[in-house]
Subunit: 223 residues, 2 copies
Amino acid sequence: MSNALCGTCPNRDVGFCAHGIAERRFRIVRRGQLITAQNEPSQEVFVLCEGWAAQFMALADTRRQILGFLLPGDMLTPTGLVSDRIDCSVLALTDVQVNVSSRAAVATRFEREAWLQRIISESITEKLNETRRLLTIVAQGSAEERIAFLILHLSHRIKRRSVVREERYFFPLLQQHIADALGLTPVHVSRVLASFRARGWMQIYDGVLQILNRQELERIGSF
Amino acid sequence: MSNALCGTCPNRDVGFCAHGIAERRFRIVRRGQLITAQNEPSQEVFVLCEGWAAQFMALADTRRQILGFLLPGDMLTPTGLVSDRIDCSVLALTDVQVNVSSRAAVATRFEREAWLQRIISESITEKLNETRRLLTIVAQGSAEERIAFLILHLSHRIKRRSVVREERYFFPLLQQHIADALGLTPVHVSRVLASFRARGWMQIYDGVLQILNRQELERIGSF
DNA sequence: CGTAGAGTTGATCAAACTCAAGTATGGTGG
DNA sequence: CCACCATACTTGAGTTTGATCAACTCTACG
């Protein structure tokens, strides 16, 4: 359960890494590449060690829906441990390092260690709640509301994982990704972000998000 | 585990009723009433015996998002067994009969019967996949695509539960409910349904949905 | 340099919303 | 039994939000 690489990992106490699920195998995936592909019955379980990724469903044409963003410490497809069918892909948004464990090995541990199954259930439940909130804001909110929501949601998740100063956050998303998550076009995302910037609410520059007026963003982007 | 009322229930082999989770207590809820309310820490577990219900999140103003429709045999809030926080309400769409079990009793059985926890995990995973598909069609699809998707999705679920003849389905939803599930206005739902009717694809009359051209609906409403 | 990718900005367009007035239906009380 | 009302649905006219199309800038990189 101890692990040479994980031993020095800054995320060792975060997410699934904290539960000692990981084996010692790793894989590097370049920005823009798929980590797992849709409809591919997975024999492996992945935990994200470094970098960001996005889970998405592809439609018949070029449209795609980003279902959620994955940060270091997140398990890529916890549902793969419960059901065989994985119906979404995972895309590396930055260069990424993932920890690879065999599904069979994790499944075997399930039998003996009930708390482990409980952890997975809780994680899937949290994913469900997150997805419901995203659905709600996408279905009910304007473009401004959706974008404010996403910015706040991500800043919150980053804050839980690392120390944040002066409301400045590591933020590798392209406007294209924001658009794919919220059901908007990149062009319109650009316009809304420009207007938030002009109002002095926030800015994204060179991969860094800076929140300048959280209160106004929350007024727009909360339920 | 045997149960006087459940013994004659037409849904006894369907959903959670088939797993003998239920106790002998029941509750009747009238159409339009809430079965459970948001942010109310539930000490009870409900299984829907009869009628339809809808799970929804309410926003600050009058907007609401329907997260999913519940049919006989469905457990109202399986996530309530995993985490304490329930953040959505359940509304009775018809007069409804629910089976009430104490959460503590079910939790105790979890300890001893691992398969039961597995059933719940699978059910939550399925809910997650369903929600992801809804999110995808709501974010990426036109009003016609969304409505065709929902009609097909519901007809499929009904078919799994009961014998269906001539593509006629019990369908108690109001246009308002379709609108709340898909992020549309009732007015626009009315227009789209009228156009589907005019094209001879489907009709809803007096609580009965009739699908007249499934192929065309699938062309529009599938991924 | 030259090219590709990301973002910006303007002009035009279409899908869906809003507002409003109407019909059809069922239930209720006189 | 009928008059009245509330609720669901329909339909029309005008408006708004966000999409589409296109041109342009900026940066990184070979």
